[in-house]
């Protein structure tokens, strides 16, 4: 029973103290709503009821911020104010784009554990990306591994279960060189977090036998106490297995692993700031082989049609899984039947534990024996722990004792809506890029600058990490993360075939650029969407078959400035998705990425949006890679280069905070992408590379390095905005990070076709692929510069020093 003051009589302050002591992360209005509910019943809540409510209502599970009402105010440079009230931010931005686009291939969006699409009416693809930031900050190896384990279960729990075929991972870390900086308040060193996360994901993903095919790593000071770890999984299932239902009387069956005291309060702890002194018991302990066995058995049971619904046991453990499945019907669980790792767990701990590798099934009673036999044949635990009721009540028993008796309606809909306010105004950053040192000095710089950018860790080769991940298991990986003859080139997107009988497949990519947030989170988000879509276009996909996932990460949203950035980013998501016709199918947010040290000093991460994108490919044999293919082929630049150095890597390596942040003009880029997709479909393109961090300079260098061939490019012929052209700034042409650009290789015989398809659009032939192993450019002032590939390679491969 609950210790402490009588809940019904306690003062608001006493209730708040109770919430803090038990790490419930419940707000005052939420505590009041709970008290009112129990006052009506005339009894105190039990320990287990309070815990169940706290986790069901947690930010992690309920997305209270994104679903609350928000009064948003923006002030522009001139002090003009613009106000807007969002009744439900998620519904009015991300989900609204999907509603309005009405793509017929969206099969299940924002409903299930993952978004599900189907392009051929027969096979469906489930895709989900999640974060595991708080656990990874505390215990990087376990936190990152179970993060991946969790998202794999999301896909196993999508529809009646999808067969995972690909993992993606994106990490944001502090720069590794930061090791000499004294650690504040117990945060781990950047290097320790890096190694722990990389190997945690490696050991879980490799052992699950799911190829890790795409990812990114971003190094920035802003992540020094709060790393971000995004793990994603895509899976395939028959369209006929998308629908799930729970019927009263169905047995509640738990499969997979046993329950221990690991991961108690995971959901509630990740709904609050990180601070020192958090017990490590909030982080789960993973065992990928237990999950692999469970997956093998589950997919067989799906084939045999032995269950009617499935969901994963993630945050909140059984309380969340059973609670969600029984949202309509109600449910009754006997906790004494739950197998434990060891004795001594309190009933509420069994109910809340986030012990990994478990799923919950709704099984028609007549199938129970067959299901148990199937799981036992694979040595996987499979236990009947209760049944779904028909009266909408959630009842949990431990032996004879009832420890939870709640109406499902109150549990799921009883939380008071949050009211928040948010604000945003731009920082004062000079728009003009400095002209320090006059022309001569600057020209010398361009050569050096490219090498510096190539060796900056976010741009530099990630081969050290990528090779530790099995990217070929299952034999479906048609475009691998590293491409080119020496397997050195950074591919723009992975391409996976769905089966061995047909040539259809999916391309997977991501977009992320938290550095732009400082300038404007709107353009940060717009750039992320564009980068993800662009990466897919670069391998041969087309815009009309692209589905998106969002993952918002931010600091403490109770801070209007933090929330203001999130609101602006969400608004960009709507605008760009709508303009591109690319619907969001699922998403997630991770807030409270704030670190509070012993002295109470606070630090929020930069507002970060990861966009993960999936595209259907009719024929994976037409996929295109980014490595330069053949001397004599022409090099085209597609897309307009603008004076947009704000947030660029040029600025990063030169320590310059100035310039305009890259914007996006979808009315210009959308037709451009369509033209490129068509050119690729027709086979006119032999290589194509997305132009992002480091601009044209890095894109050209990477293509040459990957193909082990030289490239000659005359920048005077590139499509340039007047502002770049006017002051003949070669550095702007090479390093501006304008969105919507590609470097494209076209054999001379297709030159005319290619050009005619791009008529009236910013696309131009600037040079050719050459035998000599060097990158050669002609600058806007007419000066020629050359880099030996060996020098470029040395800079690029030496950038990440683990």
């Amino acid at each position: 029973m609950l210790r402490g003051p009588d809940f019904l009589e306690a003062s608001p302050m006493e209730l708040a103290a109770l919430s803090r002591r038990r790490r419930l992360s419940l707000s005052d209005p939420e505590l009041a709503a709970i008290r009112q509910h129990f006052k009506r019943l005339g009894r105190n809540p039990t320990e287990a009821e309070l815990e169940t409510l706290a986790q069901t209502w947690s930010e992690h599970c309920k997305h209270k911020t994104f679903r609350g009402t928000i009064d948003h105010v923006e002030r522009d440079e001139l002090g003009m104010e613009r106000r807007r009230r969002y009744g439900d931010l998620l519904k009015e931005t991300i989900m609204r784009a999907t509603d309005e686009i009405r793509a017929p291939w969206c099969v299940s969006v924002f409903r299930d554990n993952a978004g599900i699409v189907s392009f051929d009416g027969r096979r469906a693809v489930a895709f989900k990306v999640e974060t595991h930031n708080h656990p990874s900050a505390l215990e990087p190896y376990g936190g990152a591994g179970t993060g991946l384990g969790g998202v794999i279960r999301d896909v196993l729990g999508a529809g009646l279960g999808a067969r995972p075929i690909a993992n993606t991972d994106v990490f944001c870390f502090a720069p590794l060189e930061q090791k000499d900086v004294p650690r504040e308040g117990g945060a781990l060193s950047a290097r320790r977090v890096f190694h722990g996360v990389v190997s945690g994901v490696r050991d879980y993903g490799n052992r699950m036998g799911i190829p890790t095919v795409n990812g990114a790593v971003c190094f920035d000071e802003g992540f020094s106490q709060n790393p971000l770890v995004f793990c994603g999984t895509a899976g395939v299932l028959p369209v006929s297995a998308v629908r799930k239902e729970v019927r009263p009387g169905d047995r509640i069956v738990m499969v997979g692993g046993r329950v221990g005291r690991d991961g108690i309060h995971g959901a509630t702890f990740s709904s609050d700031n990180l601070s020192h002194g958090i017990p490590a018991s909030v982080v789960q302990i993973g065992n990928p082989i237990v999950q692999k066995k469970m997956m093998d058995a589950l997919l067989q049971a799906r084939e045999k049609g032995l269950y009617r619904a499935v969901t994963d046991c993630g945050a909140g453990g059984l309380s969340s899984a059973v609670g969600e499945m029984g949202e309509q019907s109600g449910a009754e669980v006997q906790l004494e039947d739950v197998p434990l790792k060891y004795e001594g767990l309190a009933p509420w701990e069994i109910w809340l534990s986030e012990s990994q590798e478990r799923m919950v099934l709704a099984v028609p009673p007549q199938n129970l024996e067959a299901l148990k036999a199937l799981f036992s044949a694979e040595d996987v635990l499979c236990v009947d722990i209760g049944f779904f009721r028909n009266d909408g009540r959630l009842r949990v028993l431990y032996g004879q004792e009832t420890i939870v008796d709640l109406p499902a309606d109150f549990l799921h809909n009883g939380a008071p809506r949050r009211h928040l306010s948010s604000s945003w105004s731009p920082l004062r950053i000079p728009a003009e890029w400095p002209r320090k040192g006059g022309r001569a000095r600057r020209e010398e710089d361009v050569r050096e600058t490219l090498l510096e950018i190539l060796s900056s860790p976010t741009v530099a080769s990630k081969e050290w990490i990528v090779r530790q991940y099995d990217h070929e298991v299952q034999g479906r990986t048609v475009l691998k993360p590293l491409v080119g003859p020496a397997g050195r080139g950074p591919g723009d997107a992975a391409v996976m075939r769905l089966d061995w009988e047909t040539h259809a497949g999916v391309a997977l990519a991501n977009g992320l650029n938290p550095r732009y947030s400082r300038w404007d989170p709107y353009w940060m988000a717009a750039s992320a969407v564009d980068e993800a879509v662009r990466n897919l276009i670069a391998v041969g996909a087309s815009r009309d078959h692209v589905a998106l996932l969002d993952n918002f990460c931010g600091g403490n949203p109770n801070e209007p400035k933090v929330l203001g950035e999130l609101v602006r980013a969400a608004q960009a998501c709507y605008d760009i998705a709508r303009a591109y016709g690319t619907p969001f199918i699922s998403g997630k947010d991770s807030l409270f990425n704030r670190f509070v040290d012993k002295k109470g000093a606070r630090k929020d991460i930069p507002t970060t949006l990861l966009i993960s994108a999936l595209a259907w490919m009719d024929d994976v044999r037409r996929a295109v890679t980014m490595d330069a293919k053949k001397a004599g082929d022409l090099i085209f630049i597609v897309g307009l280069t603008r004076d947009e150095l704000g947030g660029s890597h040029y600025g990063l390596v030169k320590n310059i905070v100035a310039g305009r942040v890259p914007r996006l003009y979808p009315e210009e880029t959308a037709p451009l992408y369509d033209a490129l997709s068509e050119a690729m479909e027709r086979g006119w393109v032999t290589a194509c590379h997305d132009c992002s961090e480091g601009g044209l300079g890095v894109a050209l260098a990477e293509m040459a390095l990957a193909g082990e061939l030289g490239i000659y490019a005359d920048l005077r012929r590139a499509p340039l905005d007047g502002a770049v052209w006017d002051d003949s700034r070669t550095d702007k042409a090479l390093f501006s990070e304008s969105n919507g650009r590609f470097v494209v290789e076209v054999p001379p015989r297709f030159r005319r076709y290619f050009l005619s398809r791009f008529e009236g659009m910013p696309a131009a032939c600037v040079g050719e692929v050459r035998e000599g192993r060097k990158l050669q450019t002609v600058g806007l002032e007419g000066k020629s510069r050359a880099w030996a590939l060996s020098d470029l390679a040395a800079a690029w491969t030496g950038g990440v020093r683990p």
Binding site: R202, N206, R207, M208, G209, N287, P288, I289, K292, K293, D296, A377, E378, D379, R467, Q468, Y469, D470, H471, E472, V473, Q474, G475, R476, T477, V478, L479, K480, V483, G484, P485, G487, R497, W500, V620, R621, A623, V624, T625, D627, K629, T686
Partner: protein, 261 residues
């Protein structure tokens, strides 16, 4: 005749589906069967004509990679597997399957009679997934017929370093024609890391038993059975109809058919 191939799986096996797909394309009729079915006695190895133990992390590679499965094979299925091998039926162990056959004493040959060897941690100290080249030796193994002298192949493992009991042991294996594949560069020469991805002694990538019908290799032929699995197929024109790896499965299927008839 139909060649019945069994792809043996257990907890942690993860290359079974694509191995079955490659076998099917090679003309066999594959079934993926859990080792428990053989341990219970519901199935017998001799119900099949061809055995493949695919890659993965059997039982989590606890103790050492392939070790627990190796113990099941050498203690509980020894008679069945010995009989299978004695009948000259083909057995292929890939990656984790190779580790299991080696640690179970089925490769290079019976313990006490043959050279002993093991597969241990890569010199790099970490799991690595990369493409390299293999040079085929025209030794005892009948599954290499028609393979190019040098061909590309992918590896993905953390414990693939082949270590024989001694230098003399390595020479014995060579003399007996038991070394089937060696890691080389694209010109077919021994060239150290990364071509030899794990530091294997003698660049050994795959070996067979003295009779030649049991083959173990660390590289993954099932990851190159169709042309678009190649690491840089977008540069290869014209593309071959099949990946080179398929030839190994085709040879094994043909051999199995001969043995059975």
């Amino acid at each position: 005749m139909t060649v019945r191939a069994v792809v043996l799986r257990c907890a942690g096996t993860n290359c079974d589906e694509e191995t079955a797909a490659a076998l099917r394309r090679a003309g066999a009729e594959p079934s993926r069967v859990h080792v428990n079915r053989f341990l219970e006695g519901g199935r017998r190895l001799n119900d099949y004509d061809l055995l493949v133990i695919p890659g993965g992390f059997s039982y989590g590679d606890d103790i050492a990679s392939g070790k627990v499965l190796a113990n099941q094979l050498s203690h509980r299925l020894k008679d069945q597997l010995d009989e299978f091998i004695a009948r000259r039926k083909p057995v292929i162990g890939i990656c984790n399957g190779f580790q299991a056959l080696l640690k179970g004493g089925f490769l290079p040959g019976r313990a006490g009679v043959s050279v002993s060897a093991t597969l241990t941690d890569n010199d790099s100290g970490k799991f690595e997934c990369r493409w390299t080249f293999l040079r085929t030796s025209s030794g005892k193994c009948p599954f290499v017929r028609g393979l190019p002298a040098v061909f590309p192949a992918p590896v993905a493992h953390g414990e693939g370093k082949f270590v024989p009991e001694s230098e003399a042991g390595l020479r014995t294996l060579e003399k007996q024609g038991q070394i089937v594949f060696r890691y080389v560069n694209e010109r077919g020469q021994s060239d150290g890391y990364p071509w030899n991805p794990n530091g294997s002694r003698g660049d050994v990538a795959g070996i067979c038993n003295r009779e030649g019908n049991v083959l173990g290799l660390m590289p993954h032929p099932e990851r190159y059975f169709y042309p678009q699995q190649h690491s840089h197929w977008t540069r290869i024109r014209p593309l071959p109809e099949h990946g080179v790896g398929l030839q190994i499965f085709k040879n094994a299927v043909r051999y199995a058919a001969q043995v059975a008839s």
